[in-house]
């Protein structure tokens, strides 16, 4: 029962370092996409801008469009964290107003970049696809939060649907935000966005009647 291995040779890079490098590349990629468009930006350019070889670029990303992923994920993770810290007794809208500031550690330019990317997804199908895949990846988190809160198993179809609705609300509100804030973002529109989102989510999460199909009959 000696400890399995005394560890030799160069240690693997930590996961945080790896994510940091991906994020770094992502920022360069998004900058180039904004400046020149996606089609006019080559993988070689992205690699050069990020100071890595093309080969390692393709080791980190399966396609040039997916280079936007780390940057978008960062913002989405922030929202997930807010959801997870949602105390049981308070209403979601209320909690959002308190905790969802959208500019906590994220630098301001990152916010702008994220909005620009989401704006581009409307013309660039490949970017839209990446965006949708990303949104779907966040749904399990929503499922967990909602399931625990409602006290139902997290493989229940209603919970998955509610989670999808939350995701859709976030997506719809954000899609609205990016067109409204086309000419520069100021704190005002961000606040408005949060309020709109809060209103939408209050509707979704007024939950209890899920469990009682009788409601439908009574409503007749």
């Amino acid at each position: 029962m000696a400890q399995p291995n005394p560890r030799r040779g160069r240690p693997p890079v930590s996961e945080e370092q790896r994510q940091q490098q991906r994020l770094d590349i992502s920022r360069h990629a998004v900058r180039l996409f904004r400046e020149q468009g996606v089609a006019a930006t080559s993988g070689e350019q992205i690699a050069r801008a990020a100071g890595v070889s093309e080969r390692t670029l393709w080791r980190h990303f399966r396609s040039k469009e997916s280079c936007v992923e780390p940057l978008l994920t960062k913002t989405l993770d922030a929202f997930q964290d807010v959801l997870r810290s949602w105390p049981p007794e308070v209403e979601l809208a209320e909690h959002l107003r308190a905790a969802y500031t959208l500019v906590p550690e994220s630098s301001w330019s990152d916010i702008e970049a994220v909005l620009a990317v989401i704006r581009m997804t409307h013309d660039e199908p490949a970017l839209r696809a990446a965006y949708l895949v990303l949104s779907e990846r966040a749904e399990p988190t929503f499922v967990d939060v909602l399931a625990e809160r409602l006290g139902v198993p997290n493989d229940a179809l209603e919970v998955r649907m509610q989670a999808a609705a939350v995701s859709a609300a976030l997506r719809a509100a954000t899609d609205e935000l990016v067109v409204i804030a086309a000419g520069g973002v100021d704190p005002g529109v961000l606040d408005e966005h949060r309020e709109r989102l809060a209103d939408a989510l209050r509707f979704i999460t007024r939950a209890p009647d899920i469990a009682s199909p009788l409601r439908t009959d009574m409503a007749r």
Copy 2:
């Protein structure tokens, strides 16, 4: 004011013909994807199987993964049609049981192929992306139907969310179906799928309380 042009030369192919050709190619592509996997299937193979040149294949599809689109769209269109024919007085679940047979004009092998593709989307990220884009494309139809039924403008955020929830329910139920029906489909599992979907949608479309935020207060 003579009629603009007496029309000369070869007439353009009708849109139906074009869609038919795309569907034909799609069937061959899906067959090859199932037999060999997506990665092992080249565009050249698809083109050869469909009896067209590679050049025209790329004229019809922007990527080899998107070749699955016409076949999936066919099934999704069927569902959209069912929704559009939903009479105002009847409940959706009830209407589904009456109208959503899933094998009306679709050949049986098409159904199997569609399910196989959706099953593959769980391992093939590019296919998943195509599937999600497709699902999103159907949402405006859901929005129109729901908005008219609820008598609200179809750019209302709640309607878009409900539509997304319908879409998500369809997606979740179908994802469940494809794993259940992994070893061959029989009418029984299809019926069960329809019932599950009907139950889920009854929950979503028990609509009226959307318009009254007061409900939330009363529920406390």
